[in-house]
Structure formats: structure tokens, C-alpha cells
């Protein structure tokens, strides 16, 4: 977990598994992140997240609604991540990127006549159901600006992605725009300038056939119109590619005698 440690964050996992199940799992897979055993679901109930949909007769009774909290050093929740659909889940790297400013994994850097574009992904190895971020960092020279999505009469910045059957593409997150006053033409327009970040999340598909694919390649463009204090340039499109390796999820279970019944 070097990315967490670098950011000064502790990490822990809590499950309803008995200690011997967790010991077997972590030894087999070499996992050192603390995994806490809550076999009676005391902690899970204390947090109020016991999954009450599971019948008490089921061996699954006692599990939580899966979710993640970030907590400050005094024990107060600073953010939490729960998904409406149980098969979807943000990745640890997604949280680091979104909440703690971690850069992500570099994909490419492009210079145009107007800007420098650097693209990243929060994760380049994914499992079905993962929610991951595509990240585009833009750096503009002094006096250059791009138009924000609410602009009228100019080409707004847009992170466009081509449809891909292996992912669900969510909406784009832009930073807050600033308003530029153009008294000569009596206009006030929303713009981006300097350095800023645009993100777009995608959810990796959960269909069984996804596991047979080794790489998902997402293509798209970053489209914009740039202007400086003298010229408004023609619309420009920068081609982008984001690729993810899809990992196999088949990990053997613990021995039969350790399994919860």
C-alpha cells in the first residue's frame, strides 16, 4: 500500500469472516493490509450497516453493506463510498485520486499549440464492477483560456468517450469555471485557465464474458476552443486512449473445513 503510506493514511478492512479464514486467505495471497475479523458482526452492527436483506438462516447472515469510510485522525468521517449496486465498487486508488489528490497512473502527455494535456487513470488493472477514474490534466500558458461547458457561442471543453460495451461511462466532472469579462464585445463567459483537472468515471462491466478479455481500450477525444487576449483559435480535438487490463477474479476458497456454514 505504498500510495496510501505516502499520503499518511492507514488502511484496514473489516469482514464477518472468522480469524482462521482471514489467516488462510492472507497467507495464500501475501496480503499484509490489516484485515479485522468481526465474526459476530459486532462492529458491523455498531456502524449500523448490517445487511438486513440476508435471512438469518443463511451463512451469509452478518455481512455488511459493502462500503468505505475515510476518517480523520480524530475519528470523524470525512467521506464515504457506498454503491447502490452491490456488484459495483470504487477502487482504493479511486479514493486516493478523488479525495487525496493522488496523481494516478500516467497514460500520455500531448502538447498542442494551446496547451499541455496529461492523461492518467486511477487504476490500470481492474476487476469487473470496479469504478475507476479517467483523468485529464490541462495546463494553459498565461493569457490562454478554454471555454467551460455552460458557455454559449463558443466551443466548450468536452471529454468525449466512444461507446464501449465493456464499460458504463458516467458524466464528466469539471472544475469550477471562472467568469471572464470581455467589455469590448459586452460578453461575460465561463472559462478555464491555468492548470486544471477534468475527470470522468467509468464502471467496468459485470457480465461473465468480460473475464475472458485481457484489455479494455477506451478511445475518445478532448475537444476545446482556446483563446488568448488577441485570437480565438479554431476548435481542436486531441485523440485519447485509456487502456485497462482486466484481471482474473478466480481465487480459490479457503479449505472446506474453514468455510462458514
Amino acid at each position: 500500500m505504498p500510495r496510501y503510506q505516502r499520503l499518511g493514511l492507514g488502511v484496514a478492512v473489516i469482514t464477518y469472516d472468522r480469524p482462521e479464514v482471514i489467516i488462510d486467505f492472507t497467507r495464500r495471497l501475501g496480503i499484509t493490509v490489516p484485515i479485522l475479523s468481526d465474526p459476530d458482526s459486532t462492529i458491523i452492527r455498531g456502524f449500523g450497516i448490517l445487511n438486513t436483506n440476508v435471512p438469518q438462516s443463511s451463512f451469509q447472515y452478518g455481512i455488511p453493506f459493502p462500503g468505505t469510510y475515510t476518517v480523520n485522525t480524530r475519528g470523524f468521517v470525512t467521506a464515504k463510498y457506498f454503491e447502490d449496486t452491490y456488484r459495483e465498487r470504487v477502487t482504493p486508488n479511486f479514493i486516493l485520486n478523488r479525495q487525496f489528490g493522488d496523481a494516478g497512473i500516467l497514460k500520455s502527455q500531448v502538447r498542442t499549440d494551446h496547451l499541455t494535456l496529461t492523461s492518467y487513470v486511477s487504476d490500470d488493472k481492474v476487476y469487473a464492477g470496479n469504478r475507476v477514474s479517467l483523468i485529464v490534466d490541462i495546463e494553459l500558458p498565461a493569457k490562454m483560456h478554454l471555454y467551460a461547458p455552460t458557455v454559449k457561442g463558443y466551443r466548450p471543453a468536452e471529454l468525449q468517450l466512444d461507446p464501449n460495451p465493456n464499460v458504463r461511462i458516467l458524466s464528466t466532472n469539471f472544475p469550477r469555471a471562472t467568469t471572464m469579462n470581455l467589455p469590448a464585445i459586452r460578453e461575460r463567459v465561463p472559462v478555464f485557465s491555468g492548470k486544471f483537472r477534468i475527470t470522468r468515471d467509468v464502471i467496468v462491466g459485470t457480465e461473465d464474458n468480460l473475464r475472458k478479455e485481457s484489455v479494455i481500450e477506451l478511445t475518445g477525444t478532448f475537444a476545446y476552443q482556446a483563446c488568448d487576449d488577441k485570437i480565438c483559435y479554431l476548435e481542436t480535438k486531441v485523440p485519447l486512449t485509456f487502456s485497462f487490463q482486466v484481471l482474473n477474479q478466480d481465487i480459490p476458497r479457503v479449505p472446506e473445513n474453514l468455510r462458514r456454514r
Binding site: 478492512v13 480469524p19 453493506f65 459493502p66 475515510t70 480523520n72 464515504k80 452491490y86 468455510r259
Partner: protein, 77 residues
């Protein structure tokens, strides 16, 4: 090895294991979703044993910037 460990932890914290939900479930497992303490609220005190046999609580787990705490269904299914 560190990278390998990281990949594995990503797998099981996603809660999307192929062992999920034994048999055909007739209900939405995430219906009536409860998400516990809200932003700005204090988490309940807790302590439990980890895979090394140590008792762990919030103070022993947190870093200088706090703690990221995952609740997962199971490491086994």
C-alpha cells in the same frame, strides 16, 4: 511483491468476487441500503483481531492523515 499484494487487495475490496451470492438470490442484496455514520459524524469505537493475531483499534490503525476503512462481505466468497 508489493505490487502483487496491492492488486490482490484491490480485488477483494471491490466486493465483486465471483463467489458472490451463493445460489440464485431472489432479492436485491443492496435493497434498503444503510451507510452508517454520516460525513462529519464520529465513527463508533471498535477493536478486533487482525490476521497476525494482534488486537487492533482505530488508534493503532490510523496514519498521520487518518484512516481508510473498508467494510467487505467476505474474503472467502
Amino acid at each position: 511483491m508489493i505490487k502483487h499484494t496491492w492488486i490482490l487487495i484491490v480485488l477483494f475490496v471491490t466486493g465483486t468476487s465471483v463467489f458472490a451470492w451463493q445460489g440464485a438470490q431472489q432479492f436485491d442484496p443492496n435493497a434498503n441500503l444503510k451507510t452508517g455514520p454520516g460525513i462529519g459524524e464520529k465513527i463508533p469505537a471498535f477493536s478486533a483481531v487482525d490476521q497476525t493475531g494482534k488486537m487492533r483499534d482505530f488508534d493503532s490503525l490510523k496514519g498521520p492523515q487518518g484512516l481508510v476503512l473498508f467494510f467487505n462481505r467476505s474474503v472467502d466468497w
